[in-house]
């Protein structure tokens, strides 16, 4: 574990050096990324400018949902998102994946955390500021238990997204070009920006049980606010566990299928 953390630290340092080589572009990217986060808040502000409630959520609760979403997004975008959906297919296409396999590291770990995005890491500071804003302006009283539950569910959401992306990335071993799937994944994650309560009927069932987008932001936020059903949480835990096992099998199967290219 310590070895892997140290390697992640080295990856982020190297990448910061790489990206600082194009300084104007780096700062513009950080401005762009922080603006994008603020736009999500703006979207909610405009919605609440026209309505007092959205699917039963008040503005202060939606603010929590939005920063929960931004926290998850910042974490995955800094670490494994682009590694798995864009850089891994590229490695496979060019036959460079051989070098990953020959390294004394778990290939999945190496492919997922090879490039730690320092632009996204820098923009993540805004999320911390937004959390500060939430606690000073909107947060009511909450118990330690709900905070712990919130963090656990955040972790569960990350595991779900990681497993999903591993399955998507594994397809690159067959299709070679999987960047379209990467974009598709981004949009799927983005549906988590809104409370899943806005969906009705079949869609509600789909996003709660079959493909639990709710896990990205809605469920942790509700747990924090203390309005969550325990049975549903148990379901999500079991679901994520099975889903992770499946993704691991898919990845191993994909590795066996790999037969180098060009080199």
């Amino acid at each position: 574990m310590r070895k892997y953390l140290k390697i992640i630290w080295i990856f982020s340092k190297v990448n910061l050096q790489n990206e600082m080589a194009y300084r104007p572009s780096f700062f513009l990217a950080v401005i762009g990324k922080t603006t994008r986060m603020l736009i999500l808040i703006l979207v909610f502000q405009v919605i609440y400018f026209n309505t007092p409630l959205l699917a039963g959520w008040e503005y202060k609760d939606i603010f929590l949902l939005a920063i929960t979403y931004l926290t998850i997004e910042s974490i995955i975008i800094t670490t494994f998102h682009r590694n798995l959906s864009y850089y891994l297919p590229d490695l496979i296409k060019k036959g460079n994946f051989d070098f990953v396999l020959t390294k004394p590291l778990n290939p999945l770990f190496y492919s997922s955390f090879r490039i730690i995005d320092s632009m996204d890491l820098t923009s993540s500071f805004l999320v911390i500021f937004l959390w500060y804003h939430y606690f000073t302006h909107y947060a009511g009283t909450f118990s330690l238990l709900s905070l712990i539950l919130y963090l656990l569910l955040l972790g569960l959401g990350l595991i779900f997204l990681f497993s999903l992306l591993v399955i998507i990335a594994s397809s690159a071993f067959w299709t070679v070009n999987a960047t379209g799937l990467g974009r598709f994944f981004e949009e799927i994650v983005r549906t988590g920006r809104f409370p899943t309560d806005v969906f009705k009927g079949a869609f509600s069932f789909l996003f709660l049980y079959v493909f639990p987008i709710a896990l990205i932001a809605t469920v942790p936020s509700k747990a924090f606010l203390g309005t969550i059903d325990w049975r549903y949480l148990a379901y999500l835990a079991v679901f994520t566990f099975i889903f992770t096992l499946i993704s691991k099998r898919v990845w191993n199967h994909a590795l066996r299928h790999y037969s180098s290219a060009s080199s």
Partner: protein
């Protein structure tokens, strides 16, 4: 007799006029065809190239489509909670139609091109290969860009048609046929405006190593300022003032106002004049930058 004679003269004059216009038209057509031949060939080749990536493009399109469906669900929920007929001047069907239209415009016509190719061509030196060929490189890029737009449009329109059928109770047809045609023209001009905006921020690659940063900032601002998530009229006044000063509203908000018949004749005329001024200004800037950039271009990498 006299009358018929006069009519005869009139007819022959009319005939001559017809012949003359047919001649002029044919001449212009040939001229246009000869001019365009090269770019049509480029478009054809590009079409083949992009078809190879159709699965990827299709997945991209589907992704945007899902995102727009979520927004539609959000608005359904708002109308249901508020129990009112109209929010911010929009009835529910108008809002749904607005968002569907914005989705079609956004995913297929606007998001399609982001200038990556132009940036790479300049920075990796493949521009040298184009410069020696007998065509205008900016027009070459433009034809490739519109080709991609056309392809993603075809890939995506199917899904939207299915959703329009499902939500047919909430779908509003264009205000009138004229409105629809003017809408199409506005979308087309929006596409041109979009191309030149990104084109300018791509050819600054002559001076910068990476132009991804500025283009990303524009894309982010565009995501809200085109009005494709929320109609701009629903924003607080200060924001509306800002959006009115930017060119982005002509890419989605303005055309959709025409479609829904929410824009008056004066607004339409004013809007078209403004968009033409924007396009001319951007073309002017791009020509100036291109000239200066070529002088600076040193074709490294090749």
């Amino acid at each position: 007799m006299d009358f018929n004679f006069k009519l005869g003269i009139f007819h022959s004059a009319l005939d001559r006029y017809y012949y003359f216009s047919a001649f002029v038209f044919k001449y212009l057509y040939e001229l246009f065809r000869n001019l365009m031949k090269k770019y049509l060939a480029v478009a054809k080749a590009t079409w083949q190239e992009y078809l190879a990536y159709r699965t990827n493009l299709f997945l991209e399109v589907i992704g945007g489509f899902i995102a727009q469906l979520v927004i539609i669900a959000v608005w359904f929920s708002i109308f249901k909670d508020l129990k009112t007929e109209v929010v911010g001047g929009y009835s529910l069907p108008e809002m749904i139609t607005y968002l569907l239209g914005a989705g079609i415009i956004n995913s297929f016509i606007l998001i399609a091109s982001q200038g990556d190719e132009i940036n790479d061509d300049i920075n990796q030196g493949s521009l040298s290969g184009f410069l020696v060929k007998p065509f205008s490189v900016p027009l070459y890029w433009l034809s490739r860009d519109f080709c991609r737009r056309a392809l993603t449009f075809i890939l995506g329109i199917g899904e939207y048609l299915v959703i329009i059928l499902i939500l047919s109770n909430y779908f509003v047809f264009p205000f009138s046929l004229t409105n629809f045609l003017v809408f199409c023209l506005a979308v087309f001009l929006g596409g041109i405006l979009h191309f030149f905006l990104f084109y300018i921020f791509s050819i600054i690659a002559f001076w910068m190593d990476q132009t991804w940063g500025p283009r990303f900032v524009i894309r982010v601002i565009m995501s809200i300022a085109t009005g494709s998530l929320i109609p701009l009229s629903l924003f607080p006044d200060t924001w509306q003032l800002v959006f009115n000063l930017l060119p982005f509203k002509f890419m989605a908000y303005f055309p959709l106002q025409i479609y829904l018949g929410k824009a008056s004749l004066t607004e339409i005329i004013l809007g078209f004049s403004t968009v033409l001024v924007w396009i001319s200004a951007l073309i002017g800037i791009s020509i100036w930058l291109w000239g200066r950039g070529l002088k600076k271009y040193s074709a490294y990498g090749n």
